[in-house]
């Protein structure tokens, strides 16, 4: 700890900080622009000037920038000094010489850091009487809007986009007071993280283009703490609603998960909530209109009378509570995991690796601090994008040691980057095809899943000889394995990354062996396994049978009614198997929020709440259980799936089995029934939690028009909806105090209207939220365990003469079911294709863009061909999950044939 003196008061602060961090951590108001807690100091804006004194006898002092001055022991400063105040006000005055006073029509207005800082410095009178500079604005694609005239040249955007997120198509151009931040020419921003510009920009240069389509001020948004549902990482979000429509997603800082940022899929994938395809009322016998809740439940009750003849299919995109309710309804023996059998094996394998082995799974934040990483099989920027952003930080860790040795403070970002230059720590990427992470990789290895697994096993063996030997390994692979092993052993915090997206059990097992070998050799390593969906791991922890067992059960004639929970089974199993399942049962009940091919087949469809309309618990790939809260009460008969299941059981006369009146009840029941979920009780405060007798308001104190917005219906203000499930209220009434971290509905603090108010919610800058970051880990490794190595090593890949091993490829935009329904995401979605090695393509007489026919078991596709010289011969890559593409269980051997394109502009995406 260091003692600093600020305006004659002594404070204790953490060592190694700069004065700005120290002052903000102490809760002092000191304005700033260019400094960002995740990107540190560069000293560009000169806004955080304070008076620095040599000692108590120094009466004059000198102005210094707090962000560039160490908070060393004994440092004596003044924030309130008249000269310092005047200087800070003049910085705003200078910025205002060019900033247009267009706050009323600016999307940032009301949550603008520049507005806040202007008020904070007290500058209010305009002396500048000349013209302002103007810029041409670029079309940067469907996600980010640019309005350059508002720019204050703080350089945060370019530092985030290029330095932090590794972008290449963005930069600072020109000079003096006309520095331009944008692309070389109009075009879609290429970074997976471009949307963060919206929050990084301290004013209205970069704003959310999807919000613009249905604009609402921050103070008019009803918000609640939520979890992103678009991948397995469980980033924390703040969705905002008005007039029954979800308007936008903002980042919700979680010091252990996503920190300050979100990926573009997570930020922009929300609009399925507003989709035309939403199911808002029960559907009976495909009759959409006029079905009451009672009618629907009465039918469901009839169909569920005999639980022994009902089976249920759960969902990796539904909450723990919803899955548990279904499991209760059908009984554990008749509860099936709503994921493909092959994925189910991978999920179960993941759980076993995390629980039974000695390697711990790091949090996403801990990945940033890893100093050597091996990626086996995962294209992380597409399967779990924020993991890619964390890995981009991890490669800085090893070179940062040199900065520490040279006594360059790590917060001095420019100096550190000048020292480190392009030096990067070890990152090895082994994937079948090129990835966007390759550019920062020490080495890449392109191979089939089998050969990737073999490399992993060879690395494990090179680390610890107890791990199984890989026979007949080519010399170059052996030396690569030894290089990787040495780099991992040399690290303080090595991490192995793998996951389910390549569909290979063997790759995952090899990854486990590497991490376990490191642990056994005395180098505690992390293992980080991505999953496909937001609650895949939670579903896996619930245990259940696989979908092929469901087909068998149904085929045996034991089933009358099939209940499908939040799941489009056409995305899970091939059409033949699914048709067999559906035709073997007499009745199908589907609970979901969007119409899809599965709901089309249902006798009863019950409208489920999305993440924005209900509460629940989700378990991310780290095993972290996190609570999401209802943001708003939707129109129609929508309610949480667990409530539908409870009501259906009541209608079936089985209410004693589901005596749950609120979320706490069902969580308690789940924890009692399934002890692995006992920690879920600690995830968030119970519904009865109050602060001085008050709930936590979902609406800001400045929420406007609550009487007027319904005046066309009635001039009487409606009674606000109750929320029996949480300590959050649906109004602006409630505690003005900061709630526990899991309940923070928005970051706001007096004088801090922008996202920067977050500083006031952390224990220290960039540290955990006050009281600890939300979420509880359900899985911890077996301490001191000797690894039980996986002993099965696959044979080397051998290309076949007339068949190709088709492997799955994922796309940040398009592969995920829900996010692609956002118009902006749909616009960026990948189009179906098949990628091949050019040599293989030549053998098939294929031209790039020409149509290729792919036959996989019973499914055939006709797709335009793409070439990749990095994809090994004998492999073919097929994107998965894209809208309109039939599902296939991959990797699988398939036959390819060249087709003469009838119409080269349109590729037919054939389902059999």
């Amino acid at each position: 700890m260091a003692k600093i003196i600020v305006d004659d008061r002594e404070y204790e602060v953490k060592d190694g900080q700069n004065l700005l961090e120290a002052c903000l951590s102490l809760g002092l108001n000191l304005p700033y622009f260019c400094w960002h807690p995740a990107m540190d100091s560069v000293g560009a804006c000169r806004q955080c000037a304070v008076k620095l004194y040599r000692d108590e006898n120094d009466k004059n002092g000198r102005l210094v920038m707090a962000c560039m001055t160490p908070a060393a022991d004994g440092t004596r400063i003044s924030i309130e000094d008249a000269e310092a105040r005047a200087f800070r006000a003049s910085i705003i005055e200078w910025l205002m010489t060019n900033h247009p006073h267009d706050c009323p029509v600016c999307d940032e207005g009301g949550e603008c850091h520049l507005q806040d800082m202007t008020v904070m410095t007290g500058h209010n009178y305009r002396r500048y009487r000349f013209g302002k500079r103007t810029f041409y604005n670029q079309n940067l694609g469907p996600l980010v809007n640019q309005e350059m005239n508002r720019c204050i040249q703080c350089y945060r955007c370019v530092r985030f986009y290029n330095d932090y997120a590794g972008g290449h198509d963005f930069g600072a151009f020109l000079l003096h007071d006309t520095v331009y931040f944008g692309r070389r020419e109009d075009g879609v921003l290429e970074s997976e993280f471009s949307g963060n510009l919206v929050e990084v920009c301290p004013t209205g240069v970069f704003t959310d283009k999807t919000l613009k389509q249905h604009y609402t001020r921050k103070w008019d948004l009803t918000t609640a703490p939520s979890i992103c549902v678009n991948c397995s990482l469980g980033c924390n979000t703040i969705p905002g609603e008005r007039y029954g429509m979800l308007r936008r997603i903002h980042n919700r800082y979680n010091g252990a998960v996503n920190g300050y940022f979100l990926c573009d899929r997570g930020r922009y994938g929300y609009e399925f909530v507003n989709s035309e395809r939403r199911i808002r009322h029960p559907i009976l016998d495909r009759k959409v209109q006029g079905v009451t809740k009672e009618e629907a439940l009465s039918r469901a009750g009839e169909l569920l009378k005999d639980p022994a003849r009902v089976i249920g299919v759960g969902s990796p995109r539904a909450s723990l509570e919803a899955n548990f309710a279904l499991r209760t309804l059908v009984g554990p023996e008749r509860f099936f995991l709503g994921i493909s059998p092959s994925e189910a094996r991978l999920v179960q394998q993941s759980i076993a690796i995390l629980r039974d082995g000695p390697a711990r799974t790091p949090s996403l934040r801990e990945i940033e601090k890893a100093d050597a990483v091996l990626v086996l099989g995962e294209d992380v920027l597409n399967s779990a994008p924020m993991l890619g952003l964390a890995l981009r930080q991890s490669v800085r860790q090893k070179p940062l040691r040199r900065a520490a040795q040279m006594r360059i403070p790590l917060w001095d970002d420019k100096a550190v980057r000048e020292l480190v230059q392009t030096e990067r720590g070890p990152l090895y990427v082994a994937t079948p095809n090129r990835t966007r992470l390759d550019e920062i990789a020490t080495r890449t290895y392109r191979a089939s899943p089998q050969d990737i697994a073999r490399l992993g096993h060879a690395v494990a063996h090179a680390i610890q000889s107890d791990a199984p030997v890989v026979e007949e390994l080519p010399e170059e692979i052996r030396s690569l394995a030894e290089e990787i092993a040495a780099a991992l052993k040399d690290a303080e915090r090595p991490v192995v990354v793998s996951g389910v997206s390549l569909g290979s059990l063997e790759v995952m097992q090899a990854a486990a062996n590497v991490a376990w070998a490191l642990c056994a050799a005395g180098h505690p390593a992390g293992i980080f396994l991505t999953q496909m969906e937001v609650n895949s791991l939670g579903l896996g922890l619930m245990n259940g049978k696989t979908l092929d067992e469901a087909v068998q059960t149904a085929r045996s004639g034991q089933v009358d009614t099939l209940v499908i929970l939040e799941n489009d089974l056409y995305r899970r199993m091939d059409t033949y198997a699914l048709e067999e399942l559906l035709s073997s049962v007499a009745h199908v009940i589907v609970i979901d929020h969007l119409s899809n091919p599965t709901t089309e087949r249902a006798e009863v469809v019950l409208p489920a709440a999305t993440f924005a309309e209900g509460d629940g618990t989700l378990v991310n790939n780290e095993g972290r259980a996190q609570r999401f809260y209802q943001v708003f009460v939707p129109e129609g008969e929508i309610q949480e799936s667990w409530r539908w299941l409870r009501d259906a059981m009541a209608a079936a006369g089985r209410s004693s089995q589901a005596p749950w009146s609120n979320l706490d009840d069902i969580v308690a029941a789940m924890a009692e029934e399934l002890p692995q979920f006992l920690p879920v009780l600690q995830v968030a405060p119970p519904a009865g939690f109050r602060i001085a007798g008050m709930k936590v308001p979902r609406q800001p104190a400045r929420y406007s028009g609550r009487t007027a917005m319904h005046a066309h219906i009635s001039v009487h203000e409606p009674k606000p909806p109750d929320d029996p499930d949480s300590p959050l209220s649906f109004t602006m009434e409630g505690t003005p105090l900061q709630p526990p971290a899991a309940l923070i509905p928005r970051f706001w603090s007096p004088g801090w209207n922008s996202v920067q108010a977050l500083n006031r919610f952390q224990e220290e800058i960039a540290g955990p939220l006050r009281g600890g970051d939300p979420g509880v880990r359900l899985i911890e490794p077996a301490e001191g365990q000797q690894p039980a190595y996986f002993r099965h090593i696959p044979a080397p890949f051998a290309a076949r003469k007339s068949e190709w091993l088709v492997i799955p490829l994922h796309h940040i935009f398009g592969s995920e079911e829900l996010s692609v329904l956002s118009p902006a995401v749909a616009q960026l979605s990948a189009r179906p294709y098949l990628v091949l090695n050019p040599g293989d393509a030549a053998a098939l007489s294929l031209v790039e863009g020409g149509l290729v026919e792919v036959k996989l078991n019973d499914t055939a596709y006709r797709l335009p061909a793409k070439f990749s010289s990095e994809l090994p011969a004998g492999l073919a890559g097929l994107p998965v999950g894209l809208p309109g593409m039939a599902v296939a269980s991959l990797p699988a051997w398939g036959r390819l044939a060249s087709e003469t394109p009838l119409d080269s502009s349109a590729a037919e995406v054939g389902k059999q």
């Binding site: 804006c45 000169r46 200087f87 200078w94 500048y128 040249q153 007071d177 360059i408």
Partner: protein, 424 residues
């Protein structure tokens, strides 16, 4: 009297510079032989320190001390960078030296690089200096051919590569850390210090950046010793200085004279005094970024210490003369416009403050001046001070501004009163 003008003795204006053979015949490269064969790198540094050779780029920092910042244990590769990005308005001394005697610079580079045990040296040359580029290229090739550059120089085991880099052209590239960024292919934004270039310089490596004229002195110091070098000067700041004069003087140009030669001697004896019909109004003694001085200061010795005493600075030592037929506000507007244009756009006081200052001056020139804007100019000169701006560009831009507002207040009043520039 040849020894009194060591820097320019080989320079014959209007003629080709000496080639390596002629340069050697005139005693060239002897210092390289002497240093590499008979002196340790530390002895070279010590000799230069003793000579009190102050940096000629304008800051006046002792060159030997600066070299000493690169620790003998510092890692390799180490870099020596010659700042030849001479973009200070009215300054042309380095051009004179490079065009006139390129081998003198190369010899100095070899000596400085030897002292630093540098592995690579760069000459970072102003884009417009085409002739200098052409002559330097030829001279560098000759030096390589003779084995003064390249591998194992004079069988010492020490190697040096010398590269000429022609700048893309910005004033900011003359700031040493902006120069380093530009050389790395980045925006020419300055860097914060510490860390200093001696520890984290070009490509993150130990580096030293020196001005052309500074380096040109080194062969003479090595050949003749520090005592001789100190004896050249009329003050305690060693050596001679290339002074220059521009404006309405009879003989504008660059002149080598002892350090500390008074302003009056330079203007009257070397530059021949004012042209007929013109009277001296004010002087910018060391380039655009120095404060105005008045005719009453004419007897001040032109060295770093004495120019600082009268509230200005020696800068590059190239004098800009303002006569009584020229609008001083127009001069200021011209300068501040230049600085505003050349701001790299990094720190707010610079990119926003300089533009505003220039706009106010322009409004006076266009007859739109208002006296209530004068306190704004004064605010700028109080607020753009070392520590509040990121680098020195904005603070030195305040030198002509604040001194001008002080000395020419009556002119501002006249412009405002008459709603025009009286000189137009």
């Amino acid at each position: 009297m040849e020894m009194e003008r060591p820097l320019t003795r080989n320079i014959r204006p209007g003629q080709e510079p000496l080639d390596i053979q002629a340069y050697q015949a005139a005693g060239g490269y002897q210092a390289v032989h002497k240093a590499i064969k008979n002196m340790t790198p530390q002895q070279v540094i010590d000799e230069v320190k003793a000579s009190n050779l102050l940096g000629r780029g304008g800051a006046g920092f002792p060159a030997g001390v600066k070299w000493g910042f690169v620790s003998p244990q510092a890692p390799h590769p180490r870099y020596l960078i010659i700042n030849a990005d001479e973009m200070e308005p009215a300054t042309f001394k380095d051009r004179y030296l490079m065009e006139g005697d390129p081998h003198q610079l190369i010899e100095g580079i070899i000596l400085a690089a030897y002292a630093l045990q540098a592995d690579v040296a760069y000459i970072f040359l102003r884009w417009e200096y085409k002739l200098a580029a052409q002559r330097l290229r030829k001279a560098i090739a000759e030096a390589y051919q003779r084995g003064y550059l390249g591998r194992n120089i004079l069988d010492s085991g020490w190697s040096l590569e010398l590269r000429l880099h022609v700048s893309a052209g910005r004033y900011m590239c003359g700031e040493e850390t902006g120069l380093l960024n530009a050389l790395e292919g980045k925006r020419a934004n300055p860097r914060n210090k510490p860390p200093f270039p001696a520890t984290v310089g070009l490509w993150g490596r130990p580096s030293n950046v020196n001005n052309v004229e500074t380096i040109c002195n080194v062969p003479h110091i090595i050949n003749n010793g520090s005592a001789w070098f100190l004896s050249l000067s009329r003050t305690d700041e060693g050596g001679t200085k290339i002074y220059g004069a521009s404006g309405r003087v009879k003989r504008p140009g660059a002149f080598e004279a002892p350090m500390g030669t008074p302003l009056r001697e330079i203007l009257e004896d070397y530059a021949g005094g004012m042209q007929d019909g013109y009277k001296l109004r004010a002087i910018l003694p060391g380039g655009a970024s120095t404060a105005f001085v008045l005719p009453e200061h004419m007897d001040t010795p032109m060295d770093f210490k004495n120019m600082a005493k009268i509230g200005s600075s020696l800068g590059t030592g190239t004098i800009m003369v303002v006569d009584d037929h020229t609008c001083p506000i127009g001069v200021m507007e011209n300068l501040e416009h230049f600085f505003a244009q050349e701001s790299c756009g990094w720190c707010t006081p610079c990119w926003a403050g300089l533009r505003w200052s220039a706009r106010i001056l322009k409004s006076f020139e266009e007859g739109e001046g208002r006296m209530e804007d004068l306190p704004i100019l004064e605010d700028h000169s109080h607020r753009l001070i070392p520590g509040t701006t990121y680098c020195a560009l904005a603070t030195v831009a305040m030198n002509p501004l604040s001194s001008g507002v002080r000395y020419f207040r009556d002119e501002f009043e006249r412009h405002a009163r008459e709603h025009r520039c009286p000189w137009r």
